[in-house]
Structure formats: structure tokens, C-alpha cells
Symmetry: C2
Subunit: 214 residues, 2 copies
């Protein structure tokens, strides 16, 4: 290990973890302090207030997430030519590639998107803009049509993607597998691609065209 995290970072990480699971309204400063192994006063000393801590965690999470997304927009590498790979760029795969299992980040982002805060709205607008760009790219490459209402189609593709991790726990309950795990994505991805490729009536033969990659 290069160097230990500062106490400030420990508090921030424990707050992130607890906020993601239980929500910032329910988690108390004393719980965060105990989890970080410090006194409640020190939390306020470092972050000015509980709300200041929440804002800093918000900013931290968004920054980390933006870093993950920059892979999708920044790299204009050769893999852009693979149409099915482009369509398969779900948030689930992004998480799986960048985060360790059990990371609290997806849960925190979920809360943020559902929270009716300016940070949440900004995050959603950002994702929507990305979705619109992706749809445009797909349309130009001929991989997908813009549809009769491109704004709605882009929104539809986005929220379909988001629903997987908004309802992650519920899906794990009924399917018996975490849809954001490697095993879960292996089942979810092909089914989604099948519908996107040919609709609900696509024949199984037609679906074999998208099963190639590992």
C-alpha cells in the first residue's frame, strides 16, 4: 500500500457507504463517527456540518462517476465500430469494469438520481445528454433508427438502462442473481440486445447473431 488514507477520507468513505445503504436522512453523525472510529465532533470539525459532509460526498461520487464515463465518451477507439458492443454499453457493464464488488457507488448514485436535489437533476441531465448522443451515433452508423420521437426514444433507452440498478435488489430477489454481477449481466445483456435488435417477436435464429463476444 502506498500510504494510508487520511482520517478525513475515512470519514468520507464511511459516510458514502452508510448514505448509500440507508440514505442521508436516516444516517446520523454519530453512526458515521462510530463507523470511522472517531468522535462526532471531529466529523463536524472536518466538514463544517452534516450537510457539508453530504455535499462533499455528492461531489466526490459524481467526480468518480464522471471519470468512469469519460471512458465511453473520450476514447474514440476501434471498438466503436462494433455495433453490438456500442449498443451494449450499459451502466451495468461500466460498473462491473471499474468498481470492486460490493462498492457502495451504484447505491449512492441511485439515491442521487431519486433524491429531488440539484445534484441528482444535474446527473440525470448529463446521462440524458449522453443517451441522445449515443442514439445519434447509432443512427449515423446505421445501427439504430432515431425513431418517430428521438427525444423520447433517447429517454426511453436511458431509463431502461437505469431501471436495472434502481431495482437491483428487487431483481436479485426474483431472479436469484444480482443483475449487476458478471453472471447477471450475462443473462440480462443478450435478452435486452435481442429486443433492441428485432423486437419482442424476433426469432431465436435471428438472436444468434449477437451472441459472439465473451
Amino acid at each position: 500500500m502506498p500510504e494510508d488514507r487520511t482520517t478525513r477520507a475515512v470519514i468520507r468513505d464511511e459516510a458514502l457507504r452508510l448514505f448509500a445503504v440507508h440514505g442521508p436522512d436516516v444516517v446520523t453523525v454519530r453512526q458515521i463517527a462510530t463507523a470511522a472510529g472517531v468522535s462526532p465532533g471531529l466529523v463536524v470539525h472536518h466538514f463544517r456540518s452534516k450537510d457539508g459532509l453530504r455535499q462533499e460526498v455528492d461531489q466526490y461520487v459524481i467526480t468518480v462517476f464522471e471519470g468512469m464515463l469519460s471512458e465511453l465518451t473520450g476514447e474514440s477507439g476501434p471498438e466503436l465500430l462494433d455495433e453490438s458492443a456500442a449498443a451494449a454499453r450499459s451502466l451495468g457493464e461500466v460498473f462491473l469494469r471499474h468498481l470492486p464488488v460490493g462498492s457502495p457507488l451504484p447505491g449512492y448514485l441511485r439515491r442521487l438520481l431519486l433524491s429531488d436535489t440539484e445534484a441528482g437533476r444535474g446527473l440525470f441531465r448529463r446521462l440524458y445528454a449522453m443517451s441522445r448522443e449515443t442514439l445519434d451515433d447509432l443512427a449515423e452508423s446505421g445501427a439504430a433508427a432515431r425513431g418517430g420521437d428521438p427525444q423520447v426514444r433517447a429517454a426511453l433507452l436511458l431509463v431502461n438502462d437505469l431501471s436495472v440498478f434502481l431495482l437491483r435488489d428487487q431483481l436479485t430477489g426474483v431472479l436469484g442473481v444480482d443483475p449487476l454481477s458478471a453472471a447477471g449481466l450475462a443473462r440480462w445483456g443478450p435478452e435486452l440486445l435481442s429486443i433492441y435488435a428485432g423486437g419482442l417477436n424476433a426469432t431465436p435464429q435471428a438472436q444468434q447473431a449477437e451472441g459472439g463476444q465473451a
Copy 2:
């Protein structure tokens, strides 16, 4: 009006409204009492505790929702023959048909589904079972294929439907129209049906086949 609501019902309805918007953890007994025009003590007198009130509102909301759903499962009327109508049976349309505008019920159900409670899990399992039955019906009538993984396909169709009202506010923000309003559904429904009918590459001509009903 046939008869006035009892004070007990007024308290329950105000709690439902406040819980739907702000969440049960944030709303206080005093807020509910003020909204209902009574004293805090009376709330506890009628419902034993705040948690008792929350449980009763849970049960009430689920009961009302089940009543709305019974239209879909109970009636085996002539409209079942219309394939596109069957595919279009979204929760949004159910809400639009049964609830007044501004009803707090969708918001409350949203909280319930995301809440990690037994009531929420039961509700989701119920919806998942309905989705599986619907997919089976569609498959037998030839309107849709079961897909390579019917369990995942049914879950996918369900969460795609749920995502519209989980992210209702965010969608209203970027689209400028409430997706659960009549105007919003008029834009959302055709786009979704288009994808379900032929995938992302369906030609506009093929989409005209599903634009008939008002």
C-alpha cells in the same frame, strides 16, 4: 357528496400525501397532524404509533392498487384480442384511467418499491408474477416470443415499465412533459411499441401498423 370522511380517514390521507412526497422518515407526526387539522396526540390515538400509521397507509395503498390491477387480470373481455392494446398495458395507462391528476398514489408506490421493506418486496413479486403471466399470454397468442430467457425477459419488460414512474420527475424535467399524463403517454407509448414491435432498426413504415387507436 355522500358523507364526509371521518377524521381518521383525513389523517390517513394526509399521511399518504406527505409520505409520498417526502418519505415517511422525514415527515413528522406533528406535520401530519397540522395538515389534518388535529393535534399530534390524536394521530397516535387513532393509529397507536407513527409506524402503525405507516403500516396502515401501506396496506391502504396496496389495497387500492390491487383494485386497479384487478381490471387487467379479472376482466377477460374482448379487448384481449387486440395485440397491441395488450402490449400497451402499461402502469402509466392504468394510473391515468383510475386516478385523478395529482394523485399521491404513484409516488407512494414508488417509495414502496424502493424501500427495502417486506411490503415493497411483496408488491414487486406480485408485479413480476403478473409480468410473467402477460408474457406467457403474449407468447401463446403469438404476439411476442418468450425469448431465450423468459424469466429475464419478463423482468426486463416489468422494470422498463416501472422506470417510467420511478423517474417520472426527472423525465418531466428533460422532456418538458409528464410521462404519466395523457400528453406524455401519447408520446411514450408509440415509441415503446415501436421498439417492442421491431427493435431499434424498425422502419417508420412498419411503425404505422400500431398507430390506430385513440
